[in-house]
Amino acid sequence: MRLTCPLCGERDRREFYYGGDAMALERPAPDAGDVAWNDYVHLRDNPAGATRDLWYHDGGCGTWLVVERDTLTHAIAKVTPASEVAR
């Protein structure tokens, strides 16, 4: 698999560190309670198909990226810097 970093261009998968589901960007409030925090930390939609996840360009520019891809085919739909996605 190859990812196209918006800053560096198309690079080998080895340059990237996988950071898990992009729901990590939607952090609940500290006092949101254990149900909300369990949802955030542990529970996953775990989709077979389109997904959004975080990748860190470890071996390149050091940018966190939001990658839209397909878990069934490994096809990449879109790569966006996480700083443009996060609120």
Binding site: Y18, V35, N38, V41, R44, A48, H74
Partner: protein
């Protein structure tokens, strides 16, 4: 139907026309007491032990594909009980005992071979950790022998002991560990369940789970609706999609794990061996192929195939550990879908829906758990309370933080195991 050398000879002389299917191919009935979603190793053993231990036989096992076509037929066949933490320790110990009686129990040759498993260590710190693990195994009543470098050399003379980067200091030897013929495990349990009256229904995908008033009432399938009083979700890598039909999200991410096999060779690797300084483990199948694997590709995937960088890592580790392997030619590689839980340990539990059970989170270790997983899920379904050896496999341990079983000590969080 009997299997023997004579029978093979006879069938060979008469065009192999005398073999008959060993389980029925029934039409689904409109209603069962218990429906098991997933006809893999865990689902089949659950059905078998429900019938054998609890006398419950009005059961259907629904399989989307064919029996033995999922992870139970795609793994690297290792059977061991070398866990460290309470919870895992008693469970896998129980599983190994079931393995040791499995062929007699099923009257089926699953080719369980207790050839011994050796986990190598390469530093003083790693030796201490393995000594502690070995003591935990002995405390559990299982077997563990701490081998020094010369002790390892007696068993595994072909390793590169003097590798300058990763010299071998010794190994933790688990004599009762070994391998089994994975397909035969599925077939043996399938035959055993079927002969006791369980309906194994293949090519039957579950498309919905019916819940009324907080209670499960049945399932929708590609072969029509089936009513049921109890439903167990035993879908391994596809657990997330099955649970979603019941409105649940699970603490599970599905990842790809690759495995490899070489062309058939004469016997050269007599044990199961794991490298301590990289993800690599190996055994030799009875057919002669070297069966080996490494770590996850470390991103969520259902593609059932992996990437070249992990292949490269595994081959590098293999060459580092046993340079002789460079002469072997790799025949094929494949990827399996692993249901990874945050702490790397499994879940066998009830759900918030009455009559709905979940069995998932087997990470990359589900094969050796097949007997005990079915045994314990059957106990939970039949009696309503967890079996003693699976009492810690709770679904809510992540929310409460109590009873986490993080064998690797890396933290109870996705993408770390």
């Amino acid at each position: 139907m009997g299997y023997s050398g004579f029978r093979i000879l006879k069938e060979g002389l008469f065009g192999q026309k005398g073999w008959k299917p060993v389980w029925r191919d029934p039409q689904p009935k409109p209603e069962y007491d218990i429906v098991i979603i997933g006809g893999g190793g865990h689902g089949l053993s659950t059905a078998y032990y429900l019938a054998k231990n609890h006398g419950l036989t009005n059961i259907a096992v629904l399989e989307r594909g064919y029996i033995g076509g999922g992870n139970v037929g795609r793994n690297t066949t290792i059977v061991r009980a070398n866990y460290f933490l309470p919870g895992n320790s008693e469970f896998y110990s129980h599983s190994l005992k079931l393995w040791e009686g499995l062929e007699q129990d099923l009257n089926y040759n699953v080719m369980h071979s207790q050839r011994g498993l050796i986990n190598l260590f390469h530093s003083d710190g790693q030796r201490d950790a393995f000594a502690r693990r070995g003591n935990a195994m002995i405390n559990q009543g299982d077997d563990a022998v701490l081998l020094d470098r010369e002790g390892v050399r007696k068993h595994l003379p072909y390793l590169d002991f003097d590798n300058t980067r990763f010299p071998i200091y010794g190994g933790l030897y688990h004599p009762r560990g070994g391998t089994a013929r994975h397909d035969a495990v599925a077939w043996g349990y399938a035959r055993g369940a079927d002969s006791r009256g369980v309906d194994l229904i293949q090519n039957c995908e579950v498309t919905g789970i019916d819940i009324q008033g907080g209670k499960v009432t049945g399932v929708q399938t590609t072969r029509g609706p089936i009513r049921a009083r109890k439903v167990a979700m035993v879908a391994a890598g596809r657990s997330g999609q099955v649970a979603a039909m019941a409105g649940m999200r699970l603490p599970v991410e599905s990842h790809v794990l690759q495995a490899f096999v070489t062309e058939g060779l004469k016997p050269c690797i007599d044990h199961v061996v794991s490298f301590g300084m990289g993800h690599f483990y190996i055994s030799q199948s009875d057919k002669g192929g070297l069966v080996f694997g490494g770590d996850l590709d470390f991103y969520s995937s259902y593609a059932a195939r992996g990437n070249l960088p992990m292949k490269e890592h595994v081959m590098e580790a293999a060459m580092t550990l046993m340079p002789m392997i460079g002469k072997a030619r790799v025949l094929r590689s494949w990827g399996g879908i692993m249901d990874m839980s945050p702490d790397g340990s499994p879940i066998i539990d009830k759900t918030d829906t009455e009559g709905l059970f979940v069995n998932c989170g087997w990470n990359y270790g589900g094969f050796k758990a097949v007997p005990a997983s079915g045994y314990c899920l059957a106990h939970l379904i039949a009696t309503g309370s967890p079996h003693d050896v699976a009492a810690r496999f709770r679904l809510d341990r992540f929310r409460t933080g109590r009873g986490l079983m993080d064998e690797e000590g890396t933290g109870s969080q996705h993408n770390l195991h």
